[in-house]
Symmetry: C2
Subunit: 405 residues, 2 copies
Amino acid sequence: MRVRPKNHHKINYRGCFRINILNKKIGVIGGGQLGKMMILEAKRLGLYVITLDPSIDCPSSSISDEVIAAGFHDGDAIRRLAEKTDVITYEYEHINAGVLAELENRGHKIYPSVSSLLLIQDKFTQKTKLSDGGLNVPRFKSIETLEELQKYADNSGFPVMLKSRKDGYDGKGNFLIREKSEIETGFNSLGGKLLMTEEFIDFLTEVSVIAVRGINGEKAVYPIACNTHRNNILDTTEVPAALPSESLRVDILEAAERVMDIFEGVGTFGIEMFIGKNNKIYINEVAPRPHNSGHYTIEGCRANQFENHIRAITGLPLGETKLLHNFVLMRNLLGQSNGMAKTEGTEEAYRIYNGVNIHVYGKRESKTGRKMGHYTITGDSPGQVREIDAKISGIVKITGGEIDL
Amino acid sequence: MRVRPKNHHKINYRGCFRINILNKKIGVIGGGQLGKMMILEAKRLGLYVITLDPSIDCPSSSISDEVIAAGFHDGDAIRRLAEKTDVITYEYEHINAGVLAELENRGHKIYPSVSSLLLIQDKFTQKTKLSDGGLNVPRFKSIETLEELQKYADNSGFPVMLKSRKDGYDGKGNFLIREKSEIETGFNSLGGKLLMTEEFIDFLTEVSVIAVRGINGEKAVYPIACNTHRNNILDTTEVPAALPSESLRVDILEAAERVMDIFEGVGTFGIEMFIGKNNKIYINEVAPRPHNSGHYTIEGCRANQFENHIRAITGLPLGETKLLHNFVLMRNLLGQSNGMAKTEGTEEAYRIYNGVNIHVYGKRESKTGRKMGHYTITGDSPGQVREIDAKISGIVKITGGEIDL
């Protein structure tokens, strides 16, 4: 009997066991839940996966062939990842695009491409590109000084949505200025530079579309999802979204395809849109990666958003995206307290209904408000599914407890 | 930047990072494709998995939290696996049941239970138990001497199906005696002990049912699959099986449930049956584990056979088993030559149809006839699906090539 960590041999006999089944090794920057769910699909195809993440025990860790423990801005580590892999992708867009550009110029495959990434990383260039491409976006303006912001507010009236152009997510980097006295606080709290204002859309509903585009431009689009947020973090996704008209549905799907072409996106993208009270579509935000609002596709669709991401970045044709159930609901499970993660209520929830799946990301530490998992319910009707959700949403929880060895 | 194998820290800080998300750590004996596909489901639930397999680079290796490299009869290794985990399961039934019995007696959880395993490991006790439980099986008789076999053949006529009572699979351990002159050859080729004869059933069709039973006796049964074999190895599975009558369908499903109760099976079982030309059902063989003919459930059903296996052995209620598509076909991909495994044709197959999934198990070495992967096609009708299968079955292949570093 030999007991050793499974990858130990990879150090001793370097290269010798790094066999590449499908002629592709994939590097994933970011080992959180999105990376983990990508790898679960890559492993079905027999691919070899290396994860780069600051944390050696990130969710992807236990299912990656190798882990490079390094920060998202560590150029040396990203170069090393490129040397060891055939294609690099990422589950997080706030990474070192400069090094990726250098690698892409040297012929390394990076998908989505660095030009897509650079345009999207900066919300101002993202919105400019969308607007130039003929898509409707909330009115926006770059802000460089406090005076400029004050002048803008005087003209536009309140509220004013002030955003950092870079690094924001889950509402971080946003400040809603409700009255004149908050202008300076807002400006300073976002660091006073690289800011933009955005028209505040009093929307009817918030939807998202998960869209995928292959290297050759082939596109696949998932059904439209309706999202609700709580404290700026996605709370639930319901699919298909109830929409006021069929023509709006067609317009939303067409807009999603146009977004993919505008950014020449390769891989799975999440596209958030507002439906205004005027029934107009506003593109709110584009994420160049699989998206939280697309987790429903794991149980909901034939090929889920992660499988299609892997297909796209490895040059494979895309899989079927239609919904397999009448109605699907996804609910995020946020940490309810701090400490070592503990999941409760799985058994009880599964006893209530056999069309529920609870996903636990495997983060060691729960923190209040941290995304720790999600569940998906599939069923025959919105009424049935929501009734089950109402029952189990109070039962399933992830909390922080004492260390458990 | 720190580069190290992902489990390295588990050695340095033993225990410290072995955090148990769902309060369950699972030990899996056998790291082949069945073990790998179990782990892919266990990981969605956030479970911690340790694999025991003779080969450190088995298919499960890269997605297990730890690998114990040891033989299936290595008692010390199995004891060590038990110490480290809350529940042990297996993907292969020809393992050291003696040690498992000792562990079960000491209170370790082993699912399926050792009594199920012992009854099933020996085909004679398996058939006896089935027959005593009122199920129809091919007539069978234990054979201890050559004379006994000769006498049996004189009475029964030819052909005579001679089987090893233990360790047989994929036709290994079977010998079809076609005439008197082959009796001695057959007897000796199977080692001359622990043998049995079985009535040779000239069947109309061969079906299988994947059935799951929870610790508390809850049962879930998948749709009936129709199987074809080539060289005694499963070639294709089609679901739903075309059957001469609805009453036969009901009888088959009832028989499957009865099998689970007779063996008090916990977990997913594969139950193979012959449908005789007389329309009678004969239970051919029971496997106390997920089964090759149940791979179609990954794309075909809401909860696949591996997810339900993990649910059953961890005490969770079972997931939905109904078919999501009109028709599903699974085809095994056997190695076509010897050498380092290479998969060809994935891109072309995916281009032909977007409802195909190719699964590559990640075995380093291809051998002629070795199970290297499979593909599943879902579609609207048998005609459509078989037409696609006819196109892609010549395109997708796994062969052995030179070492590729």
